[in-house]
């Protein structure tokens, strides 16, 4: 699917350059989609294997919409494929949370929950952005994320409030992932330029997390040292491995097509 490159200039937002924020949104969705896809064929039961890969598909579809729009604005021969397959680790702007390893099912569910809760609020905000194409992609994606959020919330409750073993795994997942949540609400320069205030919905996010944690018998950690840098291209060691696998075909056989 391609968006014709006719009236690109008229779509650039009056609030500033959008490319950075589009790549950030696309990278978030692509990397989490790729991570979730690692479960394909390995889910705990068939229905949940299908669920997590459905979510993967939604996320990769969202990534394509953002990449296509970014490529249209960037011009210069960029395409959705060149943006996904030919940028290096330092050029990727996804937040650190989405690149964290799948771990066990508890860790994957918690990562999805923390991120979907954020993405849902972010897309609601972006649906009112003055740039019409960005707003359209966000409004469309928000409907899909509603399903992801509800499904992952239910899993957090089911595991947190489940057996001793499932609770212990959920606690370990919180320890592993919580340090990557602070970055979500630290505005990057490209977000501010595009008029997007991520800090404005931090409290709403926290309330959502708390209500699910309360029901799951889990508590929100306090005084955690927060990691940051992903939004600026400074990643954990995991992203390089993800890109190695994701980009292998295009690197080994440049311009190959299905």
């Amino acid at each position: 699917m391609s968006i014709p490159n006719n009236n690109a200039t008229s779509k650039i937002s009056p609030t500033g350059e959008l490319t950075g924020v589009l790549l950030h949104l696309a990278d978030n969705a692509l990397i989490l989609g790729q991570r979730n896809a690692e479960w394909c064929g390995h889910g705990p039961v068939l229905e949940q294997d299908i669920a997590i890969t459905n979510i993967s598909l939604d996320l990769i579809g969202q990534a394509r919409n953002f990449y296509q729009y970014a490529a249209e604005l960037m011009g210069n021969g960029n395409t959705e494929d060149s943006l996904a397959y030919l940028r290096t680790e330092r050029e990727y702007k996804n937040c650190l949370l989405v690149e964290q390893p799948n771990g066990d099912w508890a860790q994957t569910m918690l990562r999805q929950f923390l991120f979907s809760a954020y993405q849902s609020l972010l897309y609601s905000t972006l649906a009112n952005h003055p740039d019409q194409q960005l707003a359209a992609i966000a409004a469309k994606s928000k409907k899909e994320v509603t399903y992801h959020l509800r499904w992952s919330s239910e899993w957090v409750i089911r595991l947190g409030d489940g057996t001793g073993e499932s609770k212990q795994r959920m606690l370990a997942a919180i320890d592993a992932l919580w340090p990557y949540t602070g970055e979500l609400f630290l505005p990057a320069a490209y977000e501010l330029e595009a008029g997007i205030q991520v800090s404005s919905f931090e409290q709403a996010w926290m309330e959502n997390i708390k209500s699910v944690f309360d029901e799951a018998g889990l508590t929100i950690p306090v005084n955690t040292f927060m990691q940051k840098g992903g939004k600026q291209g400074i990643h954990t060691e995991h992203l390089g491995y993800i890109l190695t696998e994701l980009q292998y075909m295009q690197r080994a056989y440049p311009d190959s097509q299905w």
Binding site: P4, I50, D58, Q132, A139
Partner: protein, 179 residues
């Protein structure tokens, strides 16, 4: 949510060309969803507009889900079908806003889905909110018509479907979920 009477009708933007547009819509009636072959693109409600300008024909479509893999093939099949009827200069253009909803699916489409063994979306949206552990929707079994069914999984064989099972006839079935 979009009200029934706001369902976009192709060709509204072009008075005087109704006949030409009707001809194109009739051709589009033959293009089906590769994953649910009983549904045409018109049944799905993804044709948003048809714009005729001289020998140029523009078909505006909207995806059901962002990641729906059928969209590329649907685009190609629309071009092929129109080309068979002599339309050479065809552009299929995707738009995302307003976002597609199952309310745009035709009544005929719902009837065909059910006959095919897939429960059609319920006429009133019930699941598009964020409430956790929401009660399962009462979905009618497309095989034995019982409402005594339960949801197995919210995510099914394609992005647009959920997996249900009938408690009467015990058959599992797909439900084209509200969106």
């Amino acid at each position: 949510m979009v009200e029934q009477n706001n369902i976009p009708k192709a060709g509204q933007s072009q008075p005087g060309k109704e006949q030409e547009i009707k001809k194109i819509m009739d051709i589009l009636e033959t293009v089906t969803d590769p994953e649910i072959p009983v549904l045409t693109v018109a049944d799905l409600g993804i044709i948003r507009d048809v714009i005729v300008n001289g020998d140029k024909t523009e078909i505006i479509i909207t995806p059901t889900y962002s990641g729906c893999p059928a969209m590329d093939m649907i685009t190609m099949n629309i071009k092929l079908a129109l080309s068979e009827h002599g339309y050479r200069n065809v552009i299929v253009k995707p738009v995302l806003s307003p976002a597609w909803t199952t309310e745009w699916m035709s009544e005929e489409g719902k009837r065909k889905l059910k006959a095919y063994g897939i429960a059609p979306p319920n006429p009133r949206q019930q699941v598009c909110d964020e409430k956790l552990f929401a009660a399962n929707e009462a979905v009618q079994c497309p095989h034995c018509q019982s409402y005594h069914t339960h949801r197995v999984s919210e995510f099914g064989s394609t992005a647009c479907k959920a997996l249900y099972q009938c408690d009467e006839c015990k058959e599992p079935f797909d439900y084209f979920k509200c969106h």
